[in-house]
Every structure is written in C-alpha cells, then in structure tokens.
C-alpha cells in the first residue's frame, strides 16, 4: 500500500473547507427551492434571499454565513492504513491554515479568558472503518447561533416515545427564531451522553431527502418532521408552513438504567463536505 502523502491531505482539507463554506449543499438548496413555492409573504421573500445568498456565495466563493463556525473533522481510517506521526496535529494545523488562507472568520477563543480570537484549533475525531484502504474525511462547519441550542437529556428507561417526542419538539420551539430556521434537526438516541451527542451531530451528513434504512426509525423521522412543522416558525421565525427541512435520527444500544437523547439544531446554512482518500 502506498504511503500517505501529507501534501495531498493538506489539499484535501483545504478543499473540504472551501466546499463547506462556499455555496450551499445541493440537497438543501433544492429543498429551499421547494419551500419557496410553499411559503407566502415575508417568509417567501426571505427564502428567496437564502437562495440568492447561496448563488452569490458559490459564484464569488464567499462565506455563505459570516459565522464560519468551529470546523469539526471526522476521520474514518481504513483498517489497513498506517497513519503518519503526529497526524492529528497535522490535521488541526491544516484546518487552521485553510481557514486562514481563505480568510474565514477567526472565531475561536480560549473558553475562560476569551481573548484574541484565532482560527484554531478546530476539532478532529477519529474512527476505524472496515473500508480497508481508504480514509474518509468529513467536515462539519458548525456556527454557534444554532449550536448554542443543542440539548442533551438523560431520560429514565421507562419514558414513553410520546414523552421523547414532546421533548424534541419543545427543544425546537425553544431554539425558535434565534437559531435561523428552517432547521435540520439531528437526533441521537442511546449510548452514553457523549455518544448521543455524537450520533446527533453525525446525522447532519445525511442527504436531506433520504430516510433511515430502519423502517421504524424512518417513520419516526417523518412523524416528527410533521409535528415540528406544525410549530409554524417559518423562515427566521417570521411565521410560515416550514420550521424544519429535515429530521434525522440515529440510535445506539444503551444501558438498562437510562436513555440519553441529544437534539442538535442546525440552521438552514447546513455546511458539510466529505472526501474519500484512496490508498
């Protein structure tokens, strides 16, 4: 197997950062075009602005949103791949230099002293995958208007599904106009606290039009989306038929004594990109 070419990896990271920040994901864009036909009045006008914003951002390679967020990189390493020394710090540096090179906003500060905003560090998470000779890089750019609205709740195992549903809808309601609706809602159910949060976040990579391969979960996603849309938040909370563009659920086995549920809210400017590096 050939060795990992670090220059190539650096280029991949730069492309991921560009792809996520400039222009809108094609599935989200077509969903926005659909809701342009459904909404009326001010909400319709604002959907029009979102579509125009996506066009300008893509054409002129400008950040879709000024909150260029914290870049979160998920790296799925094939079982046979040998990673180079200091791979993680290399990836973090590449993220930082890509942000710097593209003049994306320096929004990262030390959590306590909150001084000198900079471009890094972002976050990197590794996993091992069964695709033996490849590395998959997936980048999520998460702005804090929506990230601030994330909620984790550790339920009792005897909770009913309707209580969970009520909780999820109330999280969306609380997020409200602040978090830039219409949203994409990622939900993680099961595992431990951090697992549920991670599951919720990873659902954001799913295509907005897909439904979960498990029929039961797919029907829960559909039902929840209908319920959430009955909140009638509309674009930027101006009132309208659409509150969320999609609801995605992932599950993982959990402990007999509990049931963690994490609701991750994402704004309409859903910024993700993925690239597979074959070896």
């Amino acid at each position: 197997m050939k060795r990992i070419d670090l220059n190539k990896i650096k280029e991949i990271i730069l492309n991921l950062v560009k792809k996520a920040n400039f222009g809108l994901r094609s599935d989200v864009l077509s969903k926005l075009k659909e809701i342009y036909n459904v909404e009326r009045g001010l909400s319709k006008k604002f959907v029009g602005l979102l579509i125009e914003n996506a066009r300008i951002s893509s054409k002129n390679q400008l950040p879709l949103c000024q909150d260029t967020g914290i870049p979160i990189l998920f790296v799925d390493i094939g079982e046979d791949v040998v990673v180079p020394h200091r791979f993680k710090s290399f990836l973090l540096k590449s993220l930082e230099s890509s942000y710097q090179q593209l003049y994306l906003r320096n929004s990262i500060v030390s959590p306590l002293i909150r001084r000198n905003p900079g471009w890094g560090p972002g976050e990197v998470y590794f996993d091992i995958s069964s695709n033996k000779r490849q590395i998959k890089f997936s980048l999520l750019v998460k702005g804090f208007g929506s990230e601030n609205k994330t909620v984790l709740k550790m339920f009792n195992p005897t909770v009913s599904w309707s209580q969970i549903e009520e909780f999820i809808v109330s999280c969306v309601k609380t997020a409200g106009p602040d978090a830039c609706p219409p949203f994409i809602i990622g939900i993680g159910i099961g595992g431990t606290s951090e697992k549920a949060c991670m599951l919720a976040k990873k659902t954001l990579f799913r295509n907005i039009y897909d439904s979960h391969p498990d029929k039961k979960i797919a029907s829960l996603e559909k039902k929840l989306l209908e319920k959430i849309n009955r909140l009638n938040l509309g674009v930027m909370g101006l009132g309208g038929k659409v509150t969320a563009l999609g609801v995605k659920i992932e599950i993982y086995p959990t402990h007999i004594a509990g049931l963690p549920v994490c609701v991750n809210i994402n704004c309409h400017a859903l910024r993700t990109s993925s690239i597979v590096y074959k070896l």
Binding site: P63, C180, G237
Partner: protein, 169 residues
C-alpha cells in the same frame, strides 16, 4: 415597504409598524457581546468611541478578505438583551439582529422610542454586497468583534419590535 435613511428622525421611527419591510440606507455600527462590555466600561470612564445619539447598531461580526467585507449576516440578538437599556439611554434608536428578544425589550423600545429590526440570518454573502464602505472605529484588537462603522445601501430589514412596544414574536 418603507425606506429609512440616516440621520434618523423620530417621526419616521414612530411610523414604523411590526412586520413592515424596511429598506435601510446609511450608517450602522457593528456591536457584539464583548464590544458591549467594553463600550460600557469606556462610557463609565467618560469615553465614547462613536456618537451613540440617534445611532443604529447591528449585531454582527463580519468577515474580511483583501480589505473588503465578504460576509456580514446578523448574530443572535438575545445575547445582547442585558445591554439594551444602557445603549438606549445613550440615544441608540435602531437595533438590528436576528431572533427573539426578552419581553422587557418591548417596554424599553416604547420608553425610549426605539425599534428592533431583523435581517436574514445566514445571508452573509448577500448582505456583504450591500456594504458600500466601512472603517474600524474602536477595539481593533478584538478582530471581527471590533466596532465597525458600515455604510450600507438597500439593506433589507423587517420591523420586529416597534416604538409602541409591539413584537412579532
């Protein structure tokens, strides 16, 4: 649809009603979490980095490339709620951002005859095209959180809280 230009006059502001679309032209000052804190302590010690009287503030931290603003949408206004009264007392008349505000902001808008307007969140690239000129007026060390004076044209807004204290949320 109404047009609003700086310098502002009271009559124009009083005539604005919630849900009304406004096309704004003139001067805005960007202000965020830490610039509110810094502005407050500066004013306590008698310094006013820009003239707050009759001014419009915009909750925003722009992005720059080649000395140009390339993205500048609004940030969440509710984080700034606790600073509103001190600004309105100093004469700020228009606040621009995104999202809901605490119920007491409506009372403050009525008391000080100020308005809160929203623009489209996540529309950074689109809104950057509306900026004709800008300069940094205070706290350059804060990077995107510094206070910038923006000259804008055809800036799209919706009245979210009017001088009667009514709110769209």
């Amino acid at each position: 649809m109404k047009y609003l230009r700086t310098p502002l006059n009271e009559e124009q502001l009083n005539a604005l009603n919630i849900f009304e679309e406004v096309i704004f032209e003139g001067t805005l000052y960007t202000l965020r979490d830490r610039t509110h804190q810094k502005l407050w302590s500066n004013i306590q010690s008698g310094k006013e980095p820009f003239n707050l009287k009759n001014s419009c503030i915009y909750y925003c931290g722009p992005v720059f490339r080649d000395k140009k603003i390339i993205s500048c949408g609004p940030t969440t206004s509710s984080r700034m709620d606790k600073f509103v009264e001190f600004l309105l007392k100093k004469g700020v008349k228009v606040m621009i951002g995104k999202g809901k505000r605490a119920p007491f902001i409506g009372d403050l808008c009525r008391k000080y005859k100020a308005v809160y307007m929203i623009t489209c969140g996540g529309c950074g690239a689109y809104l950057a095209e509306k900026i004709k000129n800008f300069r940094c007026v205070a706290f350059p060390q804060l990077g995107p959180e510094s206070i910038f004076e923006l000259e804008v044209k055809e800036f799209p807004l919706v009245v979210a809280i009017d001088t009667k204290g009514r709110s769209i949320y």
